[in-house]
Amino acid sequence: MSGLTIAQRTRLAHRPRLRKLKPLERREALWGLLFISPWLVGFVLFTFLPTVATLIFSFTNLNLSSSAPFAFVGLKNYQDLLADPQVWASLRVTFTFAALWLPVTMIVPFMVAVMLNSPSLRGASLFRVLIFLPYVVPFVAGVLIWQNTLLPDTGWLNEGLRAIGIQNPPDWLNDPTWIYPGLVLVGLWGIGGAVIINLAGLRNVPTELYDAAKIDGGGWWAAMRHVTLPLMSPVIFYSLTLGVVEVMQYFLVPFVLKNGTGEPGGTTYFLNLYIYKNFFTFQRMSYGATLAWLLFVVTLLLTLALFASARRWVYYAGERE
């Protein structure tokens, strides 16, 4: 013990030890488990066990379009995966899109929340409602509305662009150069939830810190950089983590807009779309399960990388040293 620092000794002293629960504590724990049991049962039945099942399937030849008897095939599906050019193409598509999508969907809700949080904004409640409103529209309906909004000839967006003098506006959904900005536009429509979360985070920043920054002569940018961003970093980290997970699952918008074809030119052939097609169009259940595990591992690695980086940039005011 003598070689330990004071901090290490303190941490050891506070380390919880397993001990026998007292009757009252045991009763409380049982009640707690009882209350959480609906979720636990659902999780085990509909997520955990199916997850284990897909791991088993990924080592089999389960294919609903084949009459071959069910058999274990070892690592064949994983070998096929490594040799499948569409896997790498779909991963490339997913990462390319994420490179545009993530910054935009992180920054825009944050900036909107900053504006909504401004004391000089009048009618903030109304704006909050208006910004949140699209979020409650069923997403498929929203995507179909956007499909028409982005049409090259009769779409409202291009009509507007022509009205301001842009004579040849982009063909948002059919031009490989413009498809990602088009998809980002569709996605921005539903940022209401992210705005609310950012707004809640901003409301938790103590105003005394802004006052102190002002007294120290700091302007808006200094307050943003030295007060807002550090204190918002847990919210940003939360949004970023979920954003990464969700962009890896990106599926619905391109599926509806391009009918799952991956057009234009394969630019919407996201990994999750390829998984979907293997499962439900090609009926290759084992290979679909293998791809799903690939997606899981890639997403897990990205999330781990985020957690590893969090120590450097996420600030928790109440964190114990």
């Binding site: 997850t51 897909t54 979020y135 498929v140 028409n148 997970v245 969700e246 619905l252």
Partner: protein, 546 residues
């Protein structure tokens, strides 16, 4: 492993799994409410979770069991053969009231095509109840699954060793997705002495696969050319011929555009159709597509529309063909390649066919999915099932013969029927039920499916009911549709595709690849179509080589 790392890893795994459980695929930074099991099951766009989970989520759909009471047919029976827009909750199980020992239960699985709309399920339920009331030894149990989930559900039932006895109505495409699984009916036909003379022999042949008779005619959808009579009258040209083999009489601007003297009979082929289509394509300044001042960016009416659900079908209007060569390798029939080039040029060069940007415009150009039904197109090739929306096409339309290519007129053909599962334990009972569905029940069922009955004696009643749904200046010449049967594409464009080298059915993957080309061609100008067609052939071969 460092404990902090361990904690982080566990936390990350839990976050990834929980985020995936959320059911959202929209990469917003927050998690929208997870869909309910029912809404997930009903949504064909619901993706698989990113976390690896077991396949076939459709099996989680709640089943509504309809008691075997007599349900009166809906007064507003749908005439749509397409998947319904307002499907019933799925699956609907219509079970016999009680099954005594020794009674054989035949499971009827629907709906890989038509049949899932609530009003259709009501009539199907009545058909089941009528049969069950009349038979003490055999009872039907109906399973009605919405079209969007029907393929997955059936595939899962098969994988689980629980296939139904009868499946239908199912078209060629749907049947081919499960090719190799259908019973050869020949022994049952011979054993029961089933009367085949009630059908045209050509329609019986459609269901032959080699020596096997895998289906019998029930509902057929020949193709025809729908046209707006007023559009032709307005520019002073004759309407297209109704009789197969007749020529087109070119008058006025049509004669001038075709470089023939007024009143000349010219072949009714795709060259003539192209010229007429260009004359009938009008911009907002009333210039037609043959005129130099024509503005293709401001079109008010298109001249032609091809049925574009399936590139193979589009090819089939130019002649029957197959993607499978005599040696089993992928090929593109020359007439299909010609059709696709004509279609592509029609969109992007001659501008008489709307391109994808207009076809996908659900507000202005194509709210019904069939542009002719919105009066924006002067001529359209389509199947008889497209009549479901023709009430929107105005009060003066009619149907004509399909144009010829290389001297042959081919009317691409759709047909739905009921098929018996190869491994059914009750082939005799299943065939009894099949005879009932093709026989006594066929009248009502074909009516609600909007399908022309294969049995000739039911046709007049079908067309009478169909006509009563339209208010037209002149009755439609339905004989054109009947004549189209003799010009059907044989082999059918939806013929089976080969197994790959691993023994897997490649049909769905091949069709998916073909659809990718369809989307690309619809939406991308300046493509080298020769190269595209060659690439498609290579892609198909790659799929078949797996």
């Amino acid at each position: 492993m460092n404990k902090t790392w361990l904690r982080s890893t566990v936390l990350a795994v839990v976050i990834v799994m929980l985020a995936a459980c959320g059911g959202t695929t929209t990469p917003t930074s927050t998690v929208p409410p997870a869909p309910t099991a029912q809404s997930t099951a009903n949504n064909p766009n619901t993706p698989p979770p990113a976390t690896p989970t077991a396949a076939a989520p459709t099996q989680q759909a709640t089943a509504s069991v309809v008691p075997a009471t007599v349900v009166p047919p809906s007064e507003e029976a749908s005439t749509s053969a397409e998947p319904s827009v307002t499907p019933a909750p799925t699956p609907v199980i219509v079970a016999p009231q009680s099954v005594a020992p020794g009674v054989t239960v035949v499971r009827w699985y629907c709906c890989l095509g038509a049949g899932d709309a609530p009003e259709q399920v009501a009539v199907e339920t009545k058909a089941i109840n009528d049969f069950n009331a009349a038979h003490s030894d055999i009872q039907i149990q109906g399973e009605f699954v919405v079209y969007a989930q029907a393929y997955d559900t059936l595939a899962t039932e098969i994988a689980g060793g629980n296939p139904p006895d009868i499946v239908g109505p199912v078209g060629f495409g749907g049947a081919n997705a499960f090719s190799g699984h259908w019973l050869d009916l020949t022994p049952e036909i011979q054993k029961t002495g089933f009367d085949l003379s009630q059908f045209e022999s050509s329609t019986i042949d459609f269901f032959k696969v080699g020596d096997h008779q895998e289906g019998l005619p029930f509902a057929i959808y020949p193709s025809e050319l729908y046209y707006q009579r007023d559009a032709f009258a307005e520019i002073g040209i004759n309407e297209p011929p109704h009789k197969y083999g007749d020529k087109y009489i070119a008058t006025g601007p049509a004669a001038a555009a075709l470089n023939v003297s007024d009143g000349t009979a010219v072949p009714w082929d795709y060259n003539t159709a192209r010229v007429l289509a260009m004359l009938l394509t009008v911009d907002k300044n009333d210039n037609d597509a043959t005129q130099s001042g024509f503005d293709p960016t401001n079109i008010a009416q298109y001249g032609f529309e091809q049925q574009r659900d399936d590139l193979r079908g589009m090819g089939a209007y130019w002649g029957a063909g197959s993607l499978v060569g005599s040696d089993g390798s992928a090929q593109i029939p020359a007439q299909w390649a010609a059709a696709w080039q004509w279609y592509y040029d029609g969109m992007f060069k001659d501008h008489f066919i709307m391109d994808g940007s207009h076809f996908n415009d659900l507000t202005v150009w194509n709210p019904d999915g069939v542009p002719f039904c919105d009066g924006k197109v002067a001529m359209a090739e389509n199947f008889l099932w497209s009549t479901y929306c023709m009430s929107g096409a105005g009060d003066n339309w009619d149907i004509a013969a399909i144009p010829a290519y290389n001297g042959t007129q081919t009317a691409a053909f759709n047909a739905d029927t009921f098929r018996i599962w190869k491994d059914t334990k009750n082939p005799d009972a299943a065939f009894t039920v099949l005879q009932y569905l093709l026989g006594d029940a066929a009248g009502e069922l074909t009516q609600i499916y909007g399908a022309m009955p294969a049995r000739e004696e039911l046709r007049q009643s079908f067309f009478d009911t169909l006509s009563s749904g339209f208010t037209l200046q002149k009755p439609v010449d339905w004989q054109v549709a009947i004549d189209g049967i003799d010009h059907a594409d044989v082999p059918n464009f939806e013929s089976p595709l080969p197994l790959n080298k691993s023994g897997e059915n490649t049909y769905n993957e091949s069709v998916s690849q073909i659809n990718t080309y369809a989307t690309r061609w619809d939406t991308t100008p300046s493509l080298d179509m020769g190269q595209q067609i060659q690439q498609m052939q290579q892609d198909l071969q790659t799929i078949w080589n797996k």
